[in-house]
Symmetry: C2
Subunit: 354 residues, 2 copies
DNA sequence: ATTATTTGCACCATCGATTGTGCAAAAAAG
DNA sequence: CTTTTTTGCACAATCGATGGTGCAAATAAT
């Protein structure tokens, strides 16, 4: 058994054991010992002791001293859907490849919670912050700015820090167009009042998507009325209610549905669970998010896959610039046809079998 | 504009501003000032200044001093599936309700990565660690033990720390039984060689599930052969290959499929994308994981929903005991019939509309 | 042998917050 | 007006790691 009695070894313990000063030990263990002209043999001695005693640096102490922590944060609205969980997954991989420690936290799309969470992260001297889908990116910016923390917006743009978002307008056009195309050889052509958009709220992404939807819809179907836009917020429950209300009123669902996110799509699932399959036997759904299971549902589901990999790569690139321009970088999303199982971040994880 | 010039205010700044000593400031701001007999008026003075100058404690310094950080960690295998992302979601909620700060990290089911990650967390003086699905919980235990960190296993049990896992044996029995029942009024009854299990590896969960599967299968169908168990690891790619191989050999898929996790289920999706729908028109799938979209696929999908809420609640309960018994606590999972959209952790998030 | 360099390391202040201890001034008791 | 008690707070050590500075001893140059 190793001396793993109670407390963790510190440089002071190793200092005593080695007969060297604590600063020497520190230099050896953090790799700056050549700069400090420490003899190779002393370095080896100390490294040996460190290993024996399972020394690991106290990162809080180190962080306190250099006011950097080695932590890189990702602030998410929520964990529990494939868009954000896959973002978390690629984020972790990328941060690790930079030799830092990823930290992922969610703030429930609650401005208060966002600020509180970011304050906490700042208090831990986080080095960089990726702000994904903040409701109020500019306030978050304020905190980071005041603390001198490099940060960048993902998914929802801010006006005060560089932002990397997916091209929601283009994506929505693609998606809407694909929905409409699906009806090309249908018995009866799709009428403008049969194509609805559900979900989202008054955020940048939703606005752009709605714009894209309306533009292309008007272009292809000749008309679009306000009634066809149903922003229900980002909750499955609210979305379900919206569908129920619609169904109550019209006795059926629209044949063409643009659904603003997979979270809203879950609202449709809840509706479906309450109604016989015939209710939506002939609908076509476009969902602005990709979920592999969603892609195989028993009606055509066209999805948009946002390119989190590129978004994060771009974000890393920007965050490393000394003085990145405060502009919005658009990343093109990808249209995913029904019944498609794309590879994801999990595929780069090596799997060991039993 | 507030004095948010550059650096964050410290107790020393407030000390100067208020004319009090730093220790007084500290006491006031961390709430121990009554114990320390600080006059109410001084407290108010300092609190006022703190607010004005947007003081927030440097948590690294505090953590260094008390060798606690206020951080509670959750170690996941991966983020990117609904089981773990919903675990992360409920974890965060529960940790916050305890007034602490949640930290979620994944380690890719890689023993090395797991240990390295935990070491890092320990170096930040994390207070408690929830270890979910570690490949090697007992080594992780070693690290925590040495550092005096309270920890608990979730999902995959260890032998040295208390564990909260779902009752995989029972769950598998339920699921297998439900699959078989589905064929009760089929044209031809299900034969033993038509019911397969795919996915998983040699971990505790898989073993239990396989046991449950085989037991009930033997019970109800009279026989089960080793050939019907196909552990493919936890990767979609490998699982897909297994299905392709099977299909190559047999010209069809088994009519009854027990799939060990949603990750493996994704392997089936990939297979499906390559083949016409008729290939699996009449299959029944049981998946040991719940995914709302998976539940609505165009063939019957019976799912098991593991009760992460209860698991975490139990885990919190245990981790707060001074000397919890090293035993395994089983949490009953829930059978989810096809076309069911359950509520999840996102439903407890309040949504504000535009 | 003397001076000039280089080598190898120790010393100490510092990061920001916490806490045990001690000591004046104010209030109460006598 | 003393003596005792209480009130209110300051001091200083501490947590662990870092890095600037300084100073001997070893080595090289003259």
């Amino acid at each position: 058994m190793k001396p793993q009695g109670k407390k963790k070894a510190t440089i002071y313990d190793l200092s005593v054991l080695s007969g060297c000063s604590a600063s020497t030990v520190s230099a050896v263990l953090n790799g700056t010992w050549r700069k400090r002209r420490i003899k190779e043999s002393t370095a080896e001695l100390i490294q040996g002791l460190a290993e024996q005693h399972q020394y690991t640096a106290n990162l809080q102490a180190r962080g306190l001293r250099n006011s950097r922590s080695g932590l890189v944060g990702l602030l998410l609205p929520v964990h529990d859907n494939r868009y954000f969980s896959s973002m978390a997954q690629t984020f972790e991989a990328q941060v690790r490849s930079h030799g830092k420690c990823p930290v992922v936290v969610s703030a429930s799309r609650d401005p208060q919670e966002e600020l509180a969470t970011v304050e906490t992260l700042i208090s831990y001297s986080i080095d960089e912050l990726f702000i994904a889908g903040a409701t109020d990116p500019d306030s978050v910016h304020g905190l980071c700015e005041a603390a001198g923390i490099r940060h960048i917006n993902i998914d929802l743009p801010g006006t005060k820090a560089p932002s990397v978002i997916s091209d929601n307008y283009q994506g929505a056009r693609l998606l809407t167009q694909a929905i409409i195309k699906r009806f090309d050889d249908a018995a009866s052509p799709l009428k403008p009042e049969e194509l609805f958009l559900f979900g989202g709220r008054n955020d940048h992404a939703s606005r752009e998507r709605i714009k894209g939807f309306r533009d292309i819809k008007t272009e292809l179907l000749g008309h679009d009325s306000d009634a066809c836009i149903q922003p229900t917020g980002y909750s499955p429950g609210m979305t379900q209610k919206a569908f129920e209300a619609f169904y109550e009123r019209e006795g059926k669902l629209p044949r063409g549905l643009f659904i603003n996110s997979s979270i809203n799509f879950e609202g449709l699932l809840r509706f479906m669970a309450q109604h016989p399959h015939e209710t939506f036997a002939d609908i076509v759904v476009g969902c602005y998010d990709y979920d592999p299971f969603g892609s195989f549902l028993p009606f055509p589901v066209i999805m948009i896959r946002q390119d989190t990999e590129s978004m994060l790569a771009k974000a890393f690139e920007l965050i490393e610039e000394t003085r990145p321009a405060v502009k919005i970088h658009l990343i093109q999303p990808e249209l995913v046809h029904p019944r498609t199982a794309l590879k994801g971040p999990l595929d780069s994880i090596r799997d060991i079998d039993a």
